[in-house]
């Protein structure tokens, strides 16, 4: 009798231990993070990382009762390296989730691998339209934006509110430029406006003089799409060539994003752009975020930084919903798609069924407040999806925006 009870007790103990071990796996949650940390895009990569680090600090590197281990890799903005680092993170470090990449080319290069490995992946910045459209991957969740998303909204705004009827566009000559201009052109012309001139500059441009001399001065506005140092240089040279006072300048958000705005001068005042974020957005969540970011990194939060703060919140919300049990990749992916994080600096975001965010688009104008330049939000277009107001099936039947092609309607 005694033996039976003892044996049963022992079994119960072993059973409980095994069962409990199955319930709360040992070891930290591993998140693999890939961004450029060397080369020309190093600063953007670092900003994205910093946004994530800020968030992880706030939660004490814990979610669902488990420790988080962040493994960061540098992909030098070269797709082959992105793939190599992804292999290391997934196959050697055995991460539970991948996040990051900056360039479209890296994003496209990584997608087949992500699919083959079936690893939940978050793209916080990569904005190539097609990654959640015709070439979408089940395993990739985009928490940032698509290039055409803010521009669809902006085309309509430029016609209706700003009253422009003719616009000349100048943009970097690669997919990001084509998709941004494409989005703007489509809605602007659908309203009745006309893009009278489309100029494309090489991605390596630094002197805009040959292009600025050709811009038609008879248009209502010039739409410019640049980022990083090209935005800085363009803004300066636009004023240099006497266009600043003559033709209003508008553009996509990266042209005046906070990663370059502090380095601009008065030449940027009055420029109107659109993006899913502005550091000057006046909400409690955003004020808290930008203050914390400034305290820690001593600079203004850019959309790069915000992107992985929000992306990070998405990841944490999903992991929290699973109670920290992230080993099942399919469940983690479902949780990612179903997550409803709150407290995002940019406002309310939901995910559409293609894995791309539906969010507010902010129309901003550059103003100087308290001696600093900022992107003051002058209008908000709520619940903008990657398809604008079009039916997704119809939208996808048309080809992707390209250098030459923009669907009419």
């Amino acid at each position: 009798m005694k033996h039976i009870r003892l044996t049963l007790a022992l079994f119960a103990l072993i059973f409980a231990t095994v069962a409990l071990r199955g319930q709360t796996p040992a070891g930290p949650i591993k998140i693999g993070f890939i961004v450029p940390l060397s080369g020309p895009f190093a600063q953007n990569g670092r900003d994205i990382l910093n946004g994530f680090l800020l968030l992880l600090d706030e939660v004490g590197y814990r979610v669902g009762g488990r420790q988080i281990q962040l493994i960061v890799e540098d992909d030098e903005a070269i797709p082959a390296v992105t793939l190599t680092k992804a292999r290391k993170l997934v196959e050697s470090d055995r991460v539970h989730l991948l996040a990051g990449t900056l360039l479209a080319s890296s994003g496209y290069a990584l997608a087949p691998y992500v699919d083959a490995q079936q690893i939940p992946t978050v793209y916080p910045v990569v904005s190539s339209d097609d990654l959640t459209q015709r070439r979408r991957s089940k395993w990739i969740v985009r928490t940032g934006w698509t290039s055409s998303q803010p521009n669809h909204a902006f085309g309509e705004y430029a016609y209706r509110t700003l009253g422009y009827r003719t616009v000349a566009t100048i943009a970097l000559d690669y997919a990001f430029g084509w998709e941004s201009v494409g989005g703007f052109q489509r809605t602007f012309e659908a309203e009745g406006g006309r893009i009278v001139q489309r100029m494309w500059t090489p991605v390596s441009v630094h002197d805009f003089a040959p292009y600025l001399a050709q811009i038609s001065r008879d248009v209502d506005a010039v739409y410019a799409l640049f980022l990083g140092r090209t935005a800085l240089q363009f803004m300066r040279q636009y004023a240099e060539y006497g266009l600043k006072g003559r033709v209003p300048l508008i553009g996509s958000g990266t042209t005046t994003d906070e990663h370059v705005l502090p380095f601009m001068g008065d030449e940027a005042l009055g420029v109107v752009t659109s993006l899913q974020y502005s550091a000057a957005l006046d909400t409690p969540d955003n004020r808290r975020f930008t203050a914390a970011y400034r305290r820690r990194y001593n600079k203004l939060a850019s959309y790069y930084a915000e992107s992985m703060y929000t992306g990070g919140k998405w990841v944490l919300a999903a992991m929290e919903a699973l109670g920290g049990r992230v080993e099942d990749r399919t469940k983690l992916l479902e949780a990612l798609r179903a997550a409803q994080p709150t407290g995002l600096p940019r406002g309310l975001v939901t995910l559409d069924e293609y894995g791309s965010p539906v969010q507010s688009i902010y129309i901003r104008r550059v103003e100087r407040v308290n001696g600093e330049l900022q992107n003051t939000v002058i209008a908000t277009v709520p619940r903008v999806s990657q398809f604008w107001k079009y039916n997704p099936a119809d939208y996808l039947r048309q080809p992707l925006y390209s250098r030459r092609f923009v669907p009419t309607s």
């Binding site: 082959a80 292999r87 290069a109």
Partner: protein
């Protein structure tokens, strides 16, 4: 009148050569061989992947060695042929769904034919002018890969290249199998290149490197030799390009840019030009350095630069040529 032969050409079996150099090369070669042949059986898939990269880039580096080390023509645009072949595989296998052997042949043809054309305008220049013209041609091809969007996909590149083993109809799967396929290709190419540099043609190339005027006065058509060396080097670079496209599953303009050509150049000169083994070593060192160091610090580029400077100070003729005397 004898043409001085560089004592750096290793026989595949690693027999000591007659130039009286120290015997440290033999054990290193042995260790290398064991690592390459047996390593993947014990390593995780990530390390197998890294070794595969080393093997493929070793083929590329050896091809540049034929041109740079043996013929003395420094090319800063060699990655262009590697890239062209890779793109050929990408375009044919994705847009046209061409079957494997045709893809490979077409890619090899593309790289070699391009070199045959370019060779016509580069084979008469030497030294820094050769460096510049190859740099310029490399940039032109890079520009093409960037701008010819309907074919190359521009900045986004082309992805979706099928798995090599599946595409070729081979019965095996997985990274280890791919590795051994690449290793086989490396051994075949290395064997061919070794035969080449030992042949009378190869010896003439070395003669041209040492003293072109003398070779010409002996009646050699140095222009033709340089032309053929350029084309042959490009052919082997194309082989590497084919493997690289299949390994990554995509192609991008970064395969052909100046950074790629410079890194390739570094592999050869760090490892030791005119040895064939040196470039393999150089490829290994650079791939491993980049990947291992970058796991620990973001400052890996700085470290690589310092390592490089120190290596040149200590071994100006490359690591594999350390201790060798050359006349």
């Amino acid at each position: 009148m004898t043409v001085t032969v560089d004592s750096g050409s290793r026989k595949p079996l690693g027999l000591p050569n007659a130039a009286g150099t120290s015997g440290w090369r033999l054990p290193i070669l042995g260790a290398l061989a064991i690592a390459l042949v047996a390593g993947p059986l014990f390593l995780s898939s990530y390390w197998v992947g890294l070794l595969t990269q080393v093997v493929i880039l070793a083929i590329l580096a050896m091809s540049l060695d034929v041109l740079l080390g043996y013929t003395g023509l420094p090319s800063l645009g060699h990655a262009a042929f590697f890239g062209v072949a890779a793109y050929a595989v990408a375009v044919l296998s994705t847009a046209y769904r061409v079957d494997f052997w045709l893809c490979v042949l077409a890619a090899l043809f593309a790289g070699t034919a391009l070199a045959a054309i370019f060779g016509l305008i580069v084979s008469h220049v030497r030294d820094v002018y050769f460096l510049m013209i190859t740099l310029a041609l490399g940039m032109v091809l890079w520009g093409l890969s960037y701008r010819w969007i309907p074919v190359t996909g521009g900045d986004n590149g082309i992805s979706g290249i099928p798995n090599l083993l599946a595409h070729a109809g081979m019965p095996w799967t997985g990274p280890v199998a791919f590795y051994y396929v690449s290793l086989t290709v490396l051994l075949v190419c290395a064997g061919l290149m070794a035969l080449l540099v030992r042949s009378p043609f190869g010896l003439s190339l070395r003669g041209i490197r040492e003293n072109e005027h003398r070779m010409r006065s002996l009646g050699f058509n140095t222009w033709l030799h340089c032309y053929l060396s350029y084309v042959i080097a490009a052919a082997f670079a194309s082989v590497a390009g084919v493997l690289w496209a299949y390994y990554n599953g995509f192609v991008s303009p970064t395969y052909l840019d100046l950074t790629a050509s410079s890194e390739l150049f570094l592999m050869v000169t760090l490892g030791g030009p005119a040895t064939l083994v040196g470039p393999v070593l150089g490829a290994g060192i650079i791939v491993l350095l980049k990947n291992v160091i970058s796991a620990y610090t973001a400052r890996w580029l700085l470290i690589l630069g310092i390592v490089y400077i120190v290596a040149i100070l200590a071994a100006p003729k490359g690591l594999w040529n350390l201790g060798k005397s050359r006349t």
